[in-house]
């Protein structure tokens, strides 16, 4: 039940993340995969760059997952892998996978983890457009 949490500059192996959470005791696996979209707020995106404060990101991710285990005591396995560095369109930026004995909790726990990750985990995204770049969410 130790969660598999990592931040990597290599392409994410989605199948490995899913396999990491599958067990014979948990019949429900929900996963969220975030990929690089070709536009953001109507503006064409060429590629992305993620920067991470790894030690804090992993600490905060650990807190998020611990909160999920508290909220859903039936939660069994969790894997979260976040990519950093330069990503092309369509590349996988993040995978969250959770396994629970029952279905509804797998959706709820996975959604809680990705939603909370986006609020507290110290990773920053710079979008590159045809005519410039922008740190996402930096300004009001």
């Amino acid at each position: 039940m130790t969660p598999h949490l990592s931040i990597t500059d290599q392409p994410i192996d989605v199948a490995a993340a899913l396999a990491a959470v599958q067990t014979e005791t948990a019949g429900a696996v929900n996963s969220f995969i975030g990929t690089v979209r070709n536009q953001s707020g109507g503006r064409p995106v060429r590629r992305l760059h993620y920067e991470s404060y790894d030690s804090m990101a992993l600490t905060q991710l650990g807190h998020v997952v611990a909160q999920a285990y508290e909220k859903w005591p039936m939660l069994q396995e969790v894997a979260v892998v976040h990519r950093k560095g330069t990503l092309a369109l369509g590349d996988v930026a993040v995978v969250v996978a959770v396994a629970t004995p029952h279905r509804a909790e797998s959706f709820a726990a996975c959604q809680y983890i990705i939603d909370t990750l986006k609020q507290v985990v110290t990773i920053w995204k710079r979008e590159e457009y045809e005519d410039g770049t922008e740190w996402v969410a930096a300004h009001p």
Binding site: Y50, E51, H82, V94, K118, V120, T122, I123, A137
Partner: protein, 80 residues
Amino acid sequence: MSLKIALFGITREIVGTSVIELPAPAPATVGALLDELRKQYPALGELRSCAVAVNNEYASNDQALHTVDAIALIPPVAGG
């Protein structure tokens, strides 16, 4: 006493380096550090938010800072 502050993303670009070292403000608190940094780098004040992390945890304004702390500025995150 001096403090080292790690910088990421847009704060790294605003300050122009990934680590700065400053004399500790008086009092040596998170809030005083933020005030000092915003004075030196007014563009930090234009961010949607700018938190301070101490030893990998988000810190409140009244938290005391020490030379040995791992301190970082945390502009608005955008993972996922």
